[in-house]
């Protein structure tokens, strides 16, 4: 069953095969959860949205059309759920690090570079991602975390391919500047 494609698993689940869904779930759960945790900084809210996204997948199993990759469809549902969540609640960009420290970027008092200097590399990268404008962060996460291609990102976000490319360019530039030793990054070599 693990060799089956996402389409086949979804079709089998639509016919009542719960094991097919379990395989599909384990295949995509890490990327989806990581995407949501980067988009919704409240862990409890991220769990709720995560469960809501899978519930929508379950309810819509018979309406699924394999005209696009399953991951594209899945993350489109996730993106809409994030938008609904942000509409209903005040968006507060708070990053809780592994050490319990938090970086509050809502006030804008801390620049990505200043935050990165105080944290280790991972926390700095997380902080840099969190400080990105929403559209750039979304495009970056859809590529880096969800693993979607440029056309799939354009399909999920409803933007043009060149627009997505431009957002990614700006996001990478900001992230490279936020890394601990940006001048030592040998991009392209």
């Amino acid at each position: 069953m693990n060799d089956a494609s996402d389409h086949e698993l979804m079709a089998r689940y639509a016919n009542g095969d719960a094991d097919a869904f379990e395989c599909l779930y384990h295949r995509h759960k890490g990327r989806l959860y990581g995407f949501l945790r980067q988009r919704i900084f409240d862990p409890q809210a991220a769990d709720d949205v995560y469960q809501e996204v899978w519930a929508k997948v379950i309810r819509a199993r018979r309406q699924y059309e394999p005209d696009a990759p399953f991951a594209s469809w899945l993350f489109q549902i996730a993106r809409n759920a994030c938008i609904d969540h942000m509409r209903h609640g005040e968006r507060r960009v708070t990053l809780v690090t592994d050490t319990g420290d938090s970086i509050d970027n809502a006030s804008g008092a801390t620049t990505p570079h200043e935050s990165a200097s105080a944290l280790d590399t991972k926390a700095a990268i997380d902080a840099a991602i969190a400080s990105l404008p929403d559209e750039q962060r979304e495009a970056f996460l859809l590529h880096q975390v969800a693993g979607l291609s440029l056309p799939d990102i354009a399909r999920v976000t409803g933007a043009k391919r060149e627009t997505v490319k431009s957002r990614l360019r700006y996001a990478l530039s900001r992230l490279r500047a936020a890394l601990p030793n940006p001048h030592q990054q040998d991009v392209g070599t």
Partner: protein
């Protein structure tokens, strides 16, 4: 912040280069959902999988059934409203059979008391037997009101045809040599009966007896021996013989119309010189003589 070149961007999109590796390494150990969350989602998925699926035709069939029901109910409501209106209309328009029978001649008899007019032959009034009897089924159901309407219209046309058929005989009743009477006081006109077909604003036809007086009036030559007062008013009963005439005189006296009573009694004596009045009759021959005597003016011989 230095700008990213197209080459660097393309390398990142291909997951090549130090930047891509550094970002991937830090994002690869992303948090995973809890086991409880996994169990809840998988249990939900299994519960949904065990639920019997509705057939594909279920949604179109339900929509079609809803549309059919909505159309049927609206049609019924519309029909009910129309039937109520037609029921009321039918109550208003269906004519009474007896009214049709009496009103069908549509004649207005005018009796002139012009003494100078020459006697005319008896007036051949159209008998009721000549008028086709029209029967209307008033027990029809309200939903048949539309048919009743058509039937009433057909009956109205039939009555109109009868009127037209009778009409040529009516002008013969009027003496062609008689010039128009300038003095209206010399003629006494009594409307006996009449009817006119009027069209209701709803397009339905009904009989309006109140407008009968507006219909064309046909003057009738006076019948010898009959005075105008012999004809009863609309609210007074007719009398064909002497006994009835006496009864009518009593009726006029009771109403305080003594002069009319005396006139009628005088005409009755003129018609039947051997008439003997009952003892309890309120008028006598002496009353007539007293009334006929002109009053003297004071001072005249």
């Amino acid at each position: 912040m230095s700008d990213l070149s197209d080459r660097e961007l393309q390398m990142f999109l291909d997951n090549r280069g130090d930047l891509a590796e550094q970002l991937s390494a830090n994002l690869s150990d992303a948090p995973q959902p809890s086991a409880a969350l996994d169990r809840a989602i998988l249990a939900d998925a299994r519960a949904e999988a065990d639920r019997p699926a509705r057939p594909r035709w279920w949604l179109p069939a339900s929509v079609a059934a809803t549309v059919v029901l909505a159309v049927g109910i609206s049609h019924q409501v519309q029909r009910a409203g129309t039937s109520a209106v037609q029921s009321v209309a039918e109550t208003d328009i269906v004519p009474d059979t007896t009214r049709l029978e009496t009103a069908a001649p549509n004649t207005v008899s005018t009796v002139t008391s012009d003494r100078a007019a020459p006697p005319a032959p008896p007036v051949p009034r159209p008998s009721m037997a000549d008028i086709p009897k029209i029967e209307v089924d008033t027990e029809r159901r309200p939903e048949r009101a539309l048919g009743a309407k058509n039937e009433v219209q057909a009956l109205a046309r039939q009555v109109t045809e009868e009127r037209e058929r009778i009409a040529p005989s009516l002008p013969k009743l009027q003496a062609p040599e008689t010039p128009p009477q300038e003095d209206s006081q010399s003629m006494e006109t009594i409307t006996v009966t009449g009817s006119r077909l009027a069209e209701h604003n709803t397009g339905l036809v009904f009989y309006d007896e109140n407008t009968a007086a507006d219909s064309a009036r046909v003057p009738v030559e006076p019948v010898p021996g009959l005075a105008s007062s012999m004809f009863p008013k609309a609210s007074e009963p007719p009398f064909p013989d002497t006994e009835s005439a006496l009864t009518r005189i009593r009726f006029l006296i009771a109403q305080g119309r003594d002069e009319d009573a005396r006139t009628l009694l005088r005409e009755l004596f003129a018609h039947d010189g051997d008439l003997e009045l009952p003892e309890d009759f309120p008028l006598s021959l002496s009353d007539l003589e007293t009334a006929e005597a002109p009053e003297r003016e004071p001072g005249t011989p």
